[in-house]
């Protein structure tokens, strides 16, 4: 990635002859960034992601009430405008079944908890998964791929066959088994042990820790394959040979010469993978193996709402809209990143 700006002394002479002003080089990254900014869809995506991050960070000040404040008297209460957009929901005053209550902006669930507050707090779970999921997958995949690609030979063969077998494993099933293993097993052990500490930590995180571990165990294979492929192609380059000839230690070669070359593709694939992680968490909460109640998660809210979709469609559709917007945003952003870093692909995929 040698650029003009890296070698100012060599350019100085030319610059002085041809142009009195200084030449400002453009690095590949800043070039890509400019292309990204021109992509309207990607900018909208990035904006939605940033808004979501802000909502997640400042949930306590944004949400009207707390997410677990139940009021059974207001079970399934709905504000008037919601009954207008869903014609099936007739208010009690007009001979229907819906209890009207203006104090809930989007309505309440069957325990009388405010839907809006739960959606706002639910952003925390989705954003946490959207950030930590790719991080774990990148770190594990990076280490495995690097070792396999750099060591080569038998190590490479062994690791890649293991990746192949993990691919053949039904991911959802594996994650269900792992979650059942953690959820059922870790609660029953004596205090003082590592597993007990883990389950305490998980409880403190509202059940997120085990979701992270589950994702980490199942999502690293793609990254590992990608990194290995990149390492294999990069390590044959002359500059790596030159570095080795100069006596650079392996760690330096990896960190200074190989790492910068493979981070781009890795970041792009991981961004494109984020919607997958978000829907993993939503699925797990949907089947009841996700975050612990009463911590709200959009997946869990959709699951609860789907049970009453015929009478209270707002309870499933509003969290669904939130989840959809976030996934849509990450898809746009990922597409934009890929197009920006690899202009030859523009409009191909």
């Amino acid at each position: 990635m040698a650029t003009l700006s890296d070698k100012p002394e060599r350019l100085k002479g030319i610059a002085q002859i041809q142009q009195p002003t200084r030449i400002r080089g453009r690095s590949l990254t800043s070039d890509a960034f400019r292309r990204l900014c021109r992509n309207r869809a990607a900018i909208i995506g990035a904006a939605i992601v940033i808004i979501n991050i802000l909502i997640a960070l400042f949930a306590p000040s944004i949400a009207p009430t707390s997410f677990d404040q139940a009021a059974l008297a207001n079970s399934n209460a709905t504000p008037p405008w919601v009954t207008k957009i869903f014609p099936g929901m007739k208010p009690r005053e007009e001979g229907g079944y819906v209890k009207i209550d203006n104090s809930y902006l989007l309505g309440a669930d069957k325990l009388g908890r405010d839907l809006l507050s739960r959606i706002v707090y639910g952003a925390r779970i989705s954003m946490a998964v959207a950030i930590v999921g790719p991080l774990i997958s990148m770190i594990v995949g990076f280490i495995v791929g690097l070792v396999a690609g750099y060591k080569g030979g038998r190590t490479d063969n062994l690791l890649m066959r293991f990746v192949d077998i993990m691919y053949a494993f039904p991911t959802m099933l594996f994650i269900i088994l792992v979650m059942a293993f953690f959820r059922a097993g870790f609660g029953q052990l004596e205090p003082g042990t590592l597993v007990h500490a883990l389950s305490e930590l998980d409880a403190a995180m509202g059940g997120l820790l085990f979701i992270f571990i589950g994702i980490g165990l199942t999502a690293w294979m793609g990254a590992a394959r990608l990194v290995r492929g990149q390492v294999l192609s990069v390590r044959e380059n002359e500059y790596v040979l030159a570095a080795r000839a100069l006596g650079a230690p392996t760690t330096r070669i990896i960190l200074r010469h190989i790492l910068p070359n493979i981070t781009g593709p890795l970041i792009i694939t991981e961004t494109l993978g984020i919607p997958g992680y978000i829907s993993y968490e939503a699925f797990l909460s949907f089947i009841g193996l996700g975050v612990n109640p009463p911590t709200p998660s959009w997946g869990g809210m959709i699951a609860d709402g789907a049970l009453v979709i015929q009478s209270y469609p707002n309870q499933a559709l509003f969290p669904a809209l939130a989840l959809f917007l976030l996934m849509f945003a990450f898809n746009f952003l990922g597409d934009g990143l890929r197009d920006a870093f690899d202009p030859t692909l523009q409009g191909r995929e």
Binding site: I165, F169, L177, F181, P275, F328
Partner: protein, 337 residues
């Protein structure tokens, strides 16, 4: 070619063995067993139950017995045993001996519902899931591939942008959203289709679309990308230079080669669509395989866990092997490697 197929089949078996070992180890690592109930059973009863189902044997022996019951075919004579532990999936009458029958694949009884075997579950619920999955797959292919072709041919036009916009939209809607929304719009509000249930043709449409749409978005994007790549190749220019009609160039020359990445993703899709999906089947109240993947784990119903995992893994490795064989047909270069 023969060497290739033999190698693939050996690989298939290796994968199945590893998958079954991991599942077996993992499910026994989860504390509690199938007979751990809210109200605990008397010790003597528990002991007898464990003895009856061979659960008191060392783990490796349990595993070997389980695998040999499935893999090794047996020939029986006389009346069929009435015990559920001797119930086989395939029973083929042999032309000799006293009612001699070749029996194969005994997946064992379910611990939670002792009157049913895992084979019963396969017989009753798998066909439902397979029918639903097949229609879902049809949606995926018939929506995804034409959409991808059209946007590749009309690249960078309004049609292309609309189609690809729709594809990103489709890819952003997880099935746990799509299913309730379809149910609400078409079932509750417009009353065009039944909200849930199974048995009538009308009841297949909504769940099949819920299953197929997200995948069809993926297929559309892939088709477009791969067709565009192929259309840039020299042999396509040659075909056009020969004066072939555009339709012939696309259908005969370009399409076949652009199918390779699509076939690759369709392999795993076939496996998980046909073996049942938990979310769609739960939301639409369909008696398929999907729920057993989840309920068996929470109930520690060991035989059902192993049965469903193996069923999925078998579908997956077979689908992937078929994909590899289709590669050979699609791309002659692979044949010569």
């Amino acid at each position: 070619m023969a060497k290739f197929i033999v190698r693939r089949i050996l690989w298939m078996f290796l994968v199945l063995v590893v998958v079954s070992v991991i599942t077996f180890a993992l499910m026994h690592a989860v504390p509690g067993g199938p007979f751990t109930l809210e109200k605990s059973l008397p010790a003597a009863t528990l002991k007898q139950l464990n003895a009856k189902y061979n659960l008191d044997a060392p783990l490796h022996l349990q595993y070997l017995k389980y695998v040999s019951d499935i893999a090794i075919p047996v020939v029986t004579t006389g009346e069929q045993s009435k015990y559920l532990d001797h119930e086989y999936l395939f029973n083929i009458s042999l032309p000799f001996g006293d009612k001699a029958t070749l029996r194969w694949m005994n997946f064992g009884p379910s611990y939670k519902t002792p009157s049913r075997t895992v084979n019963d579950i396969f017989r009753d619920n798998l066909p439902v899931s397979m029918q639903l999955g097949a229609v879902g797959l049809l949606v995926t292919v018939t929506v995804g591939i034409p959409l991808g072709i059209i946007s590749a041919l009309r690249r960078n036009t309004l049609v292309d942008y609309a189609a690809m916009g729709a594809a990103v939209l489709g890819a952003s809607v997880p099935v746990i959203i799509l299913a309730p929304v379809l149910q609400y719009l078409l079932g509750v509000e417009l009353k065009w289709l039944p909200v849930s249930g199974w048995g009538e043709l009308k009841q297949v449409i909504l769940p099949a679309f819920a299953l197929g749409i997200a995948d069809s978005a993926l297929v559309a994007r892939l088709t477009r990308a791969s067709l565009l790549q192929v259309l840039n190749q020299d042999y396509i220019r040659t075909a056009r230079a020969k004066g072939l009609r555009e339709r012939r160039v696309v259908v005969v020359h370009a399409l076949k080669n652009s199918l390779i990445p699509i076939v690759t993703v369709l392999g795993p899709m076939v496996a998980y669509l046909l073996t049942g999906t938990f979310v769609v089947e739960t939301i639409f109240g369909i008696p398929g395989m999907g729920r057993f993947f989840v309920t068996s784990v929470s109930g520690r119903d060991y035989q059902v866990i192993m049965g469903t995992v193996l069923l999925f893994a078998i579908f997956l490795v077979v689908a992937n092997t078929i994909v590899d064989i289709i590669y050979l047909w699609l791309d002659p270069r692979i044949r010569h490697e």
